[in-house]
């Protein structure tokens, strides 16, 4: 190990782990502990109740829809930002981070105002029979807003690193645009893209602030799991809330693990290990 500017490995690792434990592990442990206090049968009853199941269905399908959109749109945006120079590019680049910084409740309010039937978008969409605000679609919109930066920000650096020589070589060997994209660009970008999508999906599962404003929050129809956990808290049912939170935690954890596994395999496959 080379000497670095930071103090020794032992000290820096120790501090990092301590902070990680205090900031991340301890609160999560408290959450799990709370849920464990319930006992298995009660916990099972909470997390498989009809309302809980309906909320998983709503959350998962809408998170999938939002991830589909952010995946495609995020890739496109990253491509534009990396490959082309145009006036306002830097501004656009900075704009991508806005959903990270903005309180999601503000985003939720703004989106609701836009998509409500008297809003700019809603007044056009609703006469066409497309209801977004106070409908499941609104949940997907809110989730997409908060999760697309994940895709952009994970794909962007990989695209930047992409050597134009490889594309050129492909062209010299007679490949068409489509074939260059499929056989040269996509394989290099894919792991980062999948990782970005997975992060966005995990974020969508837990999104609360933006969603509650636009969802309409009708039980069994537009009630997301995060809201149901919030409702349990509001009823002083700490254990019930912790049970649902654990389900979301597990889902996010599984998502990220699977992605890591996929990515590791992919890297080995492409020989970039």
């Amino acid at each position: 190990m080379k000497r670095s500017a930071l103090p020794g490995f032992g000290l820096s690792l120790g501090l990092s782990l301590t902070y990680l434990a205090v900031i991340v592990v301890l609160p999560l442990a408290a959450l799990v502990l709370k849920a464990v206090q319930l006992g298995p049968s009660e916990l099972l009853a909470i997390i498989t109740g009809p309302r809980a199941l309906a909320s998983y269905r709503v959350t998962l399908t809408m998170a999938a829809a939002s991830t589909l959109f952010s995946g495609l749109y995020g890739l496109l945006l990253a491509w534009i930002l990396v490959r082309y120079d145009f006036p306002g590019r830097r501004f656009l680049d900075a704009l991508v981070d806005l959903p990270f910084a903005l309180p999601t409740a503000v985003a939720g309010l703004a989106l609701t105002a836009l998509f409500a039937k008297n809003g700019w978008f809603g007044s056009v969409l609703e006469p066409l029979g497309l209801q977004v605000a106070y409908a499941p679609a609104g949940i997907a919109v809110a989730m997409a807003f908060t999760s697309f930066p994940f895709v952009v920000r994970t794909v962007q650096p990989v695209l930047e690193d992409l050597d134009p020589d490889a594309e050129e070589a492909g062209r010299m060997l007679g490949a068409g645009d489509l074939s260059i994209f499929w056989r040269v660009i996509l394989p290099m970008v894919l792991p980062a893209w999948i990782a970005g999508c997975a992060l966005g999906f995990a974020r969508s599962l837990g999104e609360f602030g933006a969603v509650v404003f636009i969802a309409g929050n009708l039980p069994y129809e537009t009630e997301v799991t995060a809201l149901l956990a919030f409702i349990r808290l509001e009823e002083f049912d700490y254990a019930g809330a912790a049970g649902l939170a654990c389900v979301m935690l597990a889902a996010a954890f599984v998502m990220l693990s699977v992605t890591n596994l996929l990515q590791a395999r992919w890297l080995r496959f492409t020989g970039k290990d």
Partner: protein
């Protein structure tokens, strides 16, 4: 506070760390933790009380305000928010301070007159100008094609009163038939297009997004909205019957004893009962207890047949058990929606 939970402690730690920062060596300020829609009300009451307290004790006092959903505020106090006084829109939210945290004695309701509620209100209707759907009473709300807005009874005390008022009305009309009352409530809920999480959210949906034909919220709030957003845009409709929504207040013993603020906190709650306090309450469209003030504001408060939670439902404990508990009547209605 012995059984304070780990999660609770973790949430409370930052709060507890932040609050003593507003140093209160000598009690120069007290904190009133209150419900969401009382912000303007207490903004009017606090300076009046500070003046009265100055005249009485010679010292200055600042009253800090904290507002949020009633239950959420109760949880914050349980988890360590140093509120000297709590003013909530539901008895259960104060009772919990005894049941879960032992912060107040069991007999808290007897400490101030009228079960510690200096004022009360009732669920009432706000309709759009001209009352296009001709809504006069509860029965008009369950017609086809009428959209009714109120927040989720699961997250809003305000909406729990709406639910109870509708249920009590149907119970009364059907000679106490519980099944008929449940069916009536189910029809009402089927007409709700959007559930917001709190009263103010529902107001925004009704006023700004122009969703719904009628908004149900406390009479005090209904009149406030009309004043705020334009008297020509909305009309207030008071149904023939409704449920009495008490707004209880109490001193948080565990906090005032530690901070030495019992005198001023008690005086603050008592001030709500004084003619001056009652006048401010009535000016903000709350129904009050003082006969003189009632007479003075008689034209603001049309007579309503008022049911109480105790007489119709046998008290809040029973309401919790039968209606609000997991799998209770409210859940059945929400499932059937």
């Amino acid at each position: 506070m012995k059984r304070r939970t780990l999660v609770g402690t973790m949430l409370a730690a930052p709060l507890a760390a932040a609050l003593p920062g507003i140093a209160r060596a000598e009690v120069g300020s007290i904190l009133n933790a209150s419900y969401d829609i009382s912000r303007e009300l207490f903004a009017a009451i606090n300076p009046a009380f500070a003046e009265a307290w100055k005249a009485r004790s010679g010292s200055d006092i600042t009253i800090e305000q904290s507002h949020g959903g009633s239950s959420r505020q109760a949880r914050a106090v349980l988890e360590g928010l140093q509120a000297d006084v709590v003013t909530f829109n539901q008895e259960v939210d104060i009772q919990i301070l005894h049941d879960r945290g032992n912060l107040i004695p069991a007999d808290w309701k007897q400490r101030f007159p009228h079960d510690s509620s200096a004022y009360y209100s009732l669920p009432a209707f706000l309709v759009r100008a001209g009352n296009p759907k001709n809504i006069k009473d509860w029965d008009d709300l369950v017609q086809d094609g009428v959209q009714v807005l109120f927040p989720n009874p699961r997250t809003s005390g305000n909406a729990r009163y709406t639910y109870l008022a509708a249920y009590a009305h149907a119970l009364d009309k059907n000679g106490g038939d519980e099944a008929a009352a449940e069916e009536f409530a189910a029809r009402l809920f089927a007409n709700v297009p959007v559930f917001d999480t709190g009263g103010r959210g529902a107001t925004t949906t009704f006023v700004e997004r122009e969703i719904g034909d009628v908004l149900i919220t406390f009479e005090a709030e209904v009149n406030g909205i009309r004043r705020e957003y334009g008297e020509d845009r909305f009309e207030v409709v008071i149904p023939t019957s409704s449920i009495e929504a008490n707004f209880p207040a109490t001193v948080v013993d565990a906090v005032v004893d530690q901070r030495g603020s019992r005198d001023v906190a008690t005086a603050y709650v008592e001030f709500l009962y004084s003619p001056e306090g009652q006048t401010i309450l009535a000016e903000n469209y709350n129904r009050v207890r003082d006969e003189k003030v009632i007479a003075q504001f008689a034209d603001r408060f049309p007579p309503v047949r008022l049911f109480t939670v105790d007489e119709v439902f046998g008290g809040w404990a029973k309401v919790n058990e039968v209606h609000l508990a997991e799998g209770g009547v409210l859940d059945r209605i929400l499932v059937g929606r």
